[in-house]
Symmetry: D3
Subunit: 162 residues, 6 copies
């Protein structure tokens, strides 16, 4: 195995994918923000209001997915066919899950991971006036399908400290 | 305490900071990527080459810090006076630290956290051909100084599972 | 009928279009800026100079069309195959028309409407030193072709106050 | 009176404002979307759900305000100190109002008008599956304060067809 | 003398300028495109039309100046107070000159050089259907004033092959 | 021959390419920065360090290639399949070469030329603390293949002053 993002001269480059076929590709990523129980409660209360923390964060995550190739230097710019972000509010934090799809020549792992990261950062921003000690945890790829390199499904052994 | 990013109608807004004085502000954030020992080894080997994983990631992180207000919906767009990203390569992963400074009316916590996040995502992108099971962990604010709301220094009690 | 941009949890998402076929699609939108007769006259005089108001505005509109998916949260990022903006200078204002084309899985209504809007905003910016009371009016979709949802042609009944 | 955005050679340029003092500046703009009563009703029903049309649109408007200088060619890039967008849902449409503030050398009229425009375009995008005949109307500057050119308050005579 | 854009660890960083005073700063850069006499003639003829090559290029250059910190990794993002681009059409090519100003903590050399570069690239794009052999030449800093590092005026000895 | 970027009204537009077939396309561009021998030496010494001038510049060039349609007004936004930038350090300067590929309806000349330009500008930025008199020279298209307009290979006669 070797890093694919370096050319013969040893320099980073955007690897050529022009010979790959277009295929349907999906990637699912997750992440979590640990926060105080009081912060969780405030988010819950806000969900019955017009502009809640999670709405803002989820929109930021979707927009972030579309900016992935602008943020990650060696990432290909590709049209995404769909992005969906969902939440699971727990007692001590918030779980974030992003699913990204495309029909193209490269996978969308980075788009899913970026969507989760920007969503989490926005939750932090929206709640930081009450809780600066929040921690973003376990941003990881759960699943990747499509493309000739084979599917990836995160196994139990991959889970580290949850 | 309450969330400051919502207006009287209950909708999110970019809170007005025009009455605040310009002051020097600093924020330091950290994060970590857990990865296999083999991946760590490959990164180390690459560091003696021309375009190593960490160079690409650190540049992405600095550019990401400048894009923070474009990514986080309620974040103010402010001129940054400095951004510095450093690494600590461990046996089972990589620690990332970002320090951001400004002279302005709002803090730069989000810029420091965004710098760490984009750096970590880029490390993932550069290494994913050999290790898709990497996990981004513990993105957190370490320190914040400047502004009238007082300094924040992450205490021992704030550290959760490291 | 229902809004398509919300998922099962009731949250906004970028609707999946990966199963749609690529097809040629066109959208035409229009808009108008009401302005004083003197402002119209000044624009006309400028048209014989090197850098007239309409040139700047039309370029901004074309560039704006390319930024649509960056501006409209649930809009898909797609490669446009053509953008054309034209003007009709009347006694009391300026009519703007934008035509946008693509070969893809989603329509380009938003791109055409965004092109008109950014063009109009730039006209306002270029003329505001002489006329701050200008009003942007009647930004509307005129036509949409391609895709399986059927064509849309704006009918007489749709025209409201022109 | 003359257009200020052209240099001696008759070409557009970003006018030099370096000699102006920093001062507090405010701009308020408005706009309206005409839509069918059924569409209004659907928006209202959505407001009790998690991710309503207006939340998405208002966030897009705030982010759009921050992109103004990237969209309008001769606009200065300036740090905004606050952006607030509000809605008034009527029987036959939606009124949008945006207030933008800065402390700087140029006014924020374009930022307020851009915020209204992007908000309106996003409402159109979110509702277009049920109503393609919506029309964006009366985007106009209501008020502008700060700076040496004097305040602007939209008079009755300025109102055209509302 | 040493490169200032590297930190103690030998990695690139955005150098901290928070202790510098705000001061008025100007930078002037130039560049040239060599092209066939026929291409020059076609540009001249277009200048009497509505949307000439130079108008499009000059607008692109001004917008490019505002994107400098988004393009050049270690560049500070700063509000520009003015940008002006001028042309000198010669028998065998086009000379471009850009002047950029700010009031701030860092110079605007990169903004002026970027403005010239993007202007030149756009001229190439607009003319490439008739002349692909055009060459962009002599992009250089002519003058830099303001800041404590002293002014820079390009001397005769600096001119290389013009 | 005529300029293709103008519509019937004489205004610039993004030319419609929807009827063209998707095909593999390549473009190669080059450029050069003249600099003092001492600056060359400093770059060489930096190449053995972690974050050298060329790494930063090459990453900026790759990211710049992806931004081409955002910078050049009439350029189509297209997904790139690969970008590779290489260097040749000479006694009195640095040669830059960029190769860009796509599978699409338009060529990638502008992407290759933009990659070279942004790379060169970043080299200037990284070295300007020691050498402000550097000159960017000879940015030119070397080769273009794919598409129905035929291939372009830069001939000897096209080389002007190297």
């Amino acid at each position: 195995m070797e890093f694919t993002h370096f050319n013969d001269a040893g320099r980073a480059y955007m690897v050529e994918v022009g010979d790959k076929d277009d295929s349907k590709r999906t990637a699912v990523a997750k992440g979590r923000i640990e926060m105080g129980a009081e912060t969780v409660e405030m988010i819950k209360e806000g969900m019955v209001k017009k502009g809640d923390v999670l709405s803002v964060s989820q929109i930021a995550g979707i927009m972030g997915a579309k900016k992935t190739s602008d943020l990650i230097p060696m990432c290909h710019n590709i049209p995404l066919t769909g992005v969906d972000i969902s939440f699971n509010l727990k007692e001590d934090g918030l779980e974030i899950r992003a699913e990204v799809k495309t029909v193209g020549k490269t996978g969308v792992e980075m788009e899913a991971l970026t969507a989760v990261s920007i969503t989490a950062l926005t939750v932090y921003d929206m709640c930081k006036s009450v809780d600066k000690a929040m921690v973003i945890e376990e941003i990881a790829l759960l699943k990747k399908t499509g493309g000739k390199s084979g599917d990836f499904i995160r196994g139990e052994g991959d889970e580290k400290d949850s």
